[in-house]
Amino acid sequence: MSDSPYLISFIVLTSLPLTILMTGAFNRLSFRFKLLGRDVHKPTMPLVPSVGGLGFVCSYLFVTALSLSFLGASAGVVVFVLVPLIAALIGLVEDLRELNPVLKPFLLVIPGVVVLVLGLYDPFPIIPFIGQVRLTIVYPLILLLAYPVVCNAVNSLDVLNGSLILTSVPVLSVLGALSYLNGSLDSAIAAVTLSLGLLGFARFNLYPARSFSGNAGSLMIGAVITSVAIYSKLEVVALTALLPHIMNEFHLLSSIGGLKSGKSYRRRPVEVANGMIRASVEPSAPLTLVRMLTLSAPQGEARLVLRLGLISTTSSVLAVMTHVLGGL
């Protein structure tokens, strides 16, 4: 099996062109079945395919399943293929018909239940400065909470053209590199495959977007990040890399008063005027990262997304520093 590393590298690299091909196909299907969403941050509010993210979802699932099968990693197939598939299916159901906002987090516990029941976790996480700790009772609870929290946090930053990509790729790249250094090849393959898939999807989703990811894509990214963090024991590193996501999610939930559908609150966090996005002055409007970034001056969408990417990259660098300083 000396050819395996080359073969797996080749398979993983196919993720990018495969995503481009499949996203194009899903875009055509979206137009055919009228699965379109309005791009509200553009002056003309064009209709854009709303489930184009299924392109990188299918490409990721196919390429990861193939690579991990070559490695003979059956546990990896469950954690990095089955678990993200469940999250993607929940997202797809939400894309096709609005899900109850209280039911959704409960459904997103299912991926955690699969990992828990099959015992694909280690309740002895390594905490920076402290070392390995024994959390046999608390860890399963954290595990069940982790999938809904991270999936929703990633989903709530999918608000502008390209924001999902620019805020997820730095996190996945850092987790992939550190997993590889930790000797967890399965996690590294999953993270790199999804990063490459997202770079392929960037062709369609960067400003001005020709395709939206949809909930299927964003929830699957959250599930992959959580799986990589748990499987390669990088929980605190992932927490650090996800600081902007968690901050956005917490402020959003606390300002709208709990789990509610985005369509149910009347006040918007930002206003759009002449193609520029500016923060709402309404004190009761939802508090989001985008609103925080437009407080001083209105911003163009493309520039705003670059700033979100800069913030995510900074927190990912801090995650690497946590790994190094904490002696992990």
Binding site: F129, L243, H251, M292, L293, S296, T314
Partner: protein, 92 residues
């Protein structure tokens, strides 16, 4: 760029205080509770660590909320003044 720097400052502060908290737990809290029975030690470790983590989360969110509301107040004042200026310069 000012808003971006504000958000980055909140994130870097959160990260630095998280590391300080972990070092504090490791160097001060854990040695303090060593020596009791394994059950009590385990219980105390989890309780103290989780409580301090929740306190850290609360401090981080309070800091970011403070900065944001300060920004919103400044914004409301600025838009209010702009409106007044527009009215006062009107020929009518």
């Amino acid at each position: 760029m000012g808003d971006t720097l504000n958000v980055l400052a909140v994130i870097v502060t959160a990260w630095a205080t998280l590391l300080m908290l972990l070092a504090f737990i490791s160097n001060t809290i854990l040695p303090l509770i060593e020596g009791t029975s394994p059950f009590i030690t385990g219980l105390l470790r989890v309780t103290v660590s989780v409580s301090l983590f929740i306190a850290w989360l609360a401090w981080w969110f309070a800091l970011s909320k403070f900065l944001v509301y300060r920004g919103i107040l400044r914004l409301m004042r600025a838009r209010g003044e702009n409106g007044k200026n527009t009215n006062s310069s009107s020929p009518h």
